[in-house]
Amino acid sequence: MAAGPGAVTVTRPVTPTRTARFGGNGPSGSNGGGSGGDRRGGGGQDWTPDRYRIGMWAAIGSILMLFTALTSAYIVRAGLPGSNDWQPITMPPLVWVSTALIIASSFTIVASRKALARDEMTGYERWLWVTLLLGVGFIGMQLLAWRQLVGQGVYLASNPHSSFFYVMTGLHGLHILGGVLALAFMVLRVRRQRGTSAGQGIDPKRRVATDVLGIYWHFMDGLWVYLLLLLILWR
């Protein structure tokens, strides 16, 4: 957090004492000042809570609660006294492939972000493509893993463990699909921009979008690993 939030400096000529006192201290004063600065141009040397990042963390908080609820339901259902219908399923082997894909995609999205930080649009675009393909591959593998399970005769309603497997992978898959759509959107934007605004520098919004999508993607990656471990270990 940089010292001297926006409001202090901005308004000093008007109200030197009060503003410094009000805008610059207390648990929240610096927040207020900082965001004041953000409205006037954002980023830069001041600490400014960036709106896209805040929005993404809020979204992640709610997604986390969704899966926390499912986890608690899972744990309760697995350990329900007097119930003996819980039959752990054998993980379809393809989930390991999909897990490998999604972990790899976390690295490629970092690579694309780093390329963007170095202003290398080609590398940025390439790694974005790779991430997109890995994401699509992940969804495809998950669907094939479902096919494998069906092949074993394990369906949604077969037993609680299989129900949770389908529900959790399904809901996680939907969120990945959202990420894939966002990736596709960004790739298309790069392609379109390449024609029009070459040499004009990189839109700061793109950097933020890449950052934020990166946060989301890592979260989805971690979430998947967590779900997989839960489904395998807690049975």
Binding site: L66, V76, D85
Partner: protein, 637 residues
């Protein structure tokens, strides 16, 4: 930033920073076409009004449903010819069937809790006034904002549709408890589908509607949080925000964390109903002729835990914005700073936080370890502490004020009264031993209708009368407003105090009629009294609607600041322009409730008023802060 730092003006033209990258979303002119302007608008003000109109439609439906319920309870078996036209199956020959009554209960609860108590205070007023009160041009994500309204609208349509599909409206109550809810379709329970039609039935549509509503609320909450953290204008530190903003912020956090849990539970319940899973279906369940599921056991209690983990924060989602509005209005019309601003903020957060740890008190009779019950009970009673802090501070705000008894003030005082009256019975119900006999009786209905239903509605009324001039540029009729207030205020007590008595006598909730219960016959006059009170109170609400719509076109012109209030929404025109402040960026110099500042020319100092030649007069200003400084601005050393 270099550019901004050199600007000394209080008011700075927006154009000066129009190229700022993070602001790109807001530098569009006002839309011109009808559809972009009024239907798919991204303007938070239009969206706020859309939410309010949606809530008004929902509250009208919900209210009429409650009248129908009262009619059936008071005169069971009577034929109402009009009903048959609307519901040829549910009310065959105009006589309400018990199942029809249950669907009335379900629709009333769902409509009111979700589409009135959740949408209007937060989606409506919050959307309209949060950005203005913090000096922003719009919400952080305007398009997302539009999306959350229209998703909510789709949820509303789904809920209305649920009442009219084949087989009748949903009958599971707004809590949607399994087991019956999970397998009702297989049992041909009315409203829950049949063996032939497991998909398109009232109960499924109910779940779909709720799930859609969850998504919409999440999008809205995300937007609120981001807006508040990121979009405050120069000088608007967190502790200078009006308490309304704090309440919307707390509510948004609660919504963000609570609705996903309901969404997860809804998905599981939907699968139980349609895909033969058994998350909530217990094992060995039989309808007398056959075993209904091959599985050996899910848990209906699991649903209750998930539901109430959402459900209890939900009641705070309903009431917290009302608390914010009440503080705001009380301070304005008592011409005094909010007593204990900082304590109010912390109390609100404490209520929100504790709200996540008390869900078990809805389930004392579902079978839980006495120790668990005790823990939930103690935590529940703890909520009394921050609630008492708030009540105490409201009274402290009123104390010694030069009170202006305007209509919004009356409703705000009414809120305090109802909150206390409904809150004290929460202390009764929060104790396991007492809840044993009160559970699922009219006592519970009396409790939560007063504290989360009517009190929250009074908060909305206070907000409507208070902010109407800002929203539409005209005053609502004070005379009609006061005529509206008294029958409403007396009416709701006349309805819900008897509920407590009925509950103590032992009248169970959700029963379609009590004809067969001899011991309840003694209550017949009370039941009739309540129904008459309901009819009068409901009739009085049409005064409000008349006043509302009449005043939009015919009310007295309001001016920018008719109430002589201090916060930023009163620093702009009524109604505010498309970008809220006409290209100005406001600077905030002080806390939100600087009324009766000694030495100030008026009895109120607006947040945007700079200290005139503050170097010379600083002792005076500081003196003012000392006197009104019971923590209300929270910035003193």
């Amino acid at each position: 930033m270099a550019e901004a730092e050199t600007i000394h003006d209080v008011i700075q033209p927006a154009a000066a920073h129009a190229h700022a990258p993070s602001m790109a979303a807001h530098h569009h002119g006002p839309p011109t076409g009808f559809i972009r302007k009024y239907i798919f608008s991204v303007d938070h003000k239009v969206i706020g009004i859309q939410y309010l109109l949606l809530a008004m439609a929902a509250v009208l439906v919900g209210m009429l449903l409650s009248v129908l319920m009262r009619m059936n309870l008071t005169w069971p078996g009577t034929a109402w010819p009009l009903l048959e036209i609307l519901f040829p199956i549910g009310a065959k020959g105009g006589v309400m069937t018990p199942e029809f009554y249950l669907s009335l209960v379900t629709m009333h609860g769902t409509m009111m809790v979700f589409f009135v108590l959740t949408t209007a205070p937060q989606g409506g007023f919050g959307n309209y006034f949060l950005p203005i009160q913090i000096g922003a041009e719009d919400m952080a994500f305007p398009t997302l904002n539009m999306l959350s309204f229209w998703v909510t609208f789709v949820g509303f349509v789904a809920l209305i549709a649920a009442a009219f599909v084949e087989g009748g409206g949903p009958t599971g109550g707004w809590t949607g408890y399994p087991t019956l809810n999970a397998i009702g379709g297989k049992l041909n329970v009315p409203g829950m589908g049949s063996a032939q039609n497991l998909w398109w039935n009232g109960q499924n549509l109910w779940i779909i509607s709720i799930a859609i509503f969850c998504v919409a609320s999440l999008l809205g909450a995300l937007n609120f949080i981001t807006t508040l953290l990121n979009m405050r204008t120069r000088g608007m530190s967190l502790m200078r925000m009006p308490l309304t903003c704090w309440s919307w912020f707390t509510t948004a956090i609660l919504a963000l964390l609570a609705f996903p849990v309901l969404l997860a539970a809804g998905v599981l319940l939907f699968l139980d109903r349609t895909a033969d899973t058994s998350f909530f279906v217990p094992g060995g369940l039989s309808d007398g002729t056959r075993v209904l599921t091959e599985h050996n056991g899910g848990s209906p209690i699991l649903w209750q835990h998930l539901f109430w983990f959402f459900g209890h924060p939900e009641v705070y989602i309903a009431i917290l914005p009302g608390m914010g509005v009440t503080s705001h209005v009380l301070s304005t019309f008592a011409r005094k700073p909010v007593f204990g601003y900082r304590a109010m903020v912390f109390a609100m957060f404490a209520i929100g936080l504790l709200g996540f740890f008390v869900w078990g008190h809805h389930m004392f009779l579902s079978g839980m370890s006495p120790y668990t019950g005790m823990a939930f009970s103690v935590l529940t009673l703890t909520i009394g502490v921050p609630s008492a802090i708030k009540t105490f501070n409201w009274i402290g705000t009123l104390w010694g004020g030069r009170i202006r008894f305007t209509t919004p003030m009356l409703f705000a005082i009414g809120f305090v009264s109802l909150f206390v009256a409904g809150g004290v019975t929460g202390i009764v119900l929060g104790q396991t031993s007492l809840d044993l006999s009160m559970h699922d009786t009219y006592f519970v209905l009396g409790h939560f209708h007063l504290v989360m239903g009517v009190a929250a509605i009074f908060g909305m009324f206070a907000g409507t009368y208070f902010w109407f001039p800002k929203m539409f540029g005209r005053m609502m009729s004070e005379r009609l407003g006061k005529i509206h207030f008294w029958p409403t205020f007396i009416g709701v007590y006349a309805i819900f105090i008897p509920f407590h008595i009925m509950g103590i006598v032992g009248m169970p909730r959700r029963y379609a009629s009590f004809e067969e219960y001899e011991f309840l016959r003694v209550l017949d006059p009370v039941v009739l009294f309540v129904t008459i009170a309901v009819i009068i109170t409901v009739a009085a609400q049409f005064l409000f609607w008349y006043n509302f719509f009449w005043s939009i076109w015919k009310g007295e012109p309001a001016g920018d600041n008719p109430w002589e209030a201090t916060t930023l929404e009163w620093s702009t025109s009524s109604p505010p322009p498309h970008d809220n402040f006409g290209g100005r960026v406001l600077t905030v110099y002080r806390g939100p409730y600087e009324f009766a500042v000694p030495g100030a020319p008026d009895d109120y100092v607006m947040q945007t008023t700079p200290d005139a030649a503050e170097e010379n007069q600083s002792p005076l200003v500081q003196g003012g802060s000392e006197i009104s400084g019971n923590g209300h601005n929270g910035h003193k050393h």
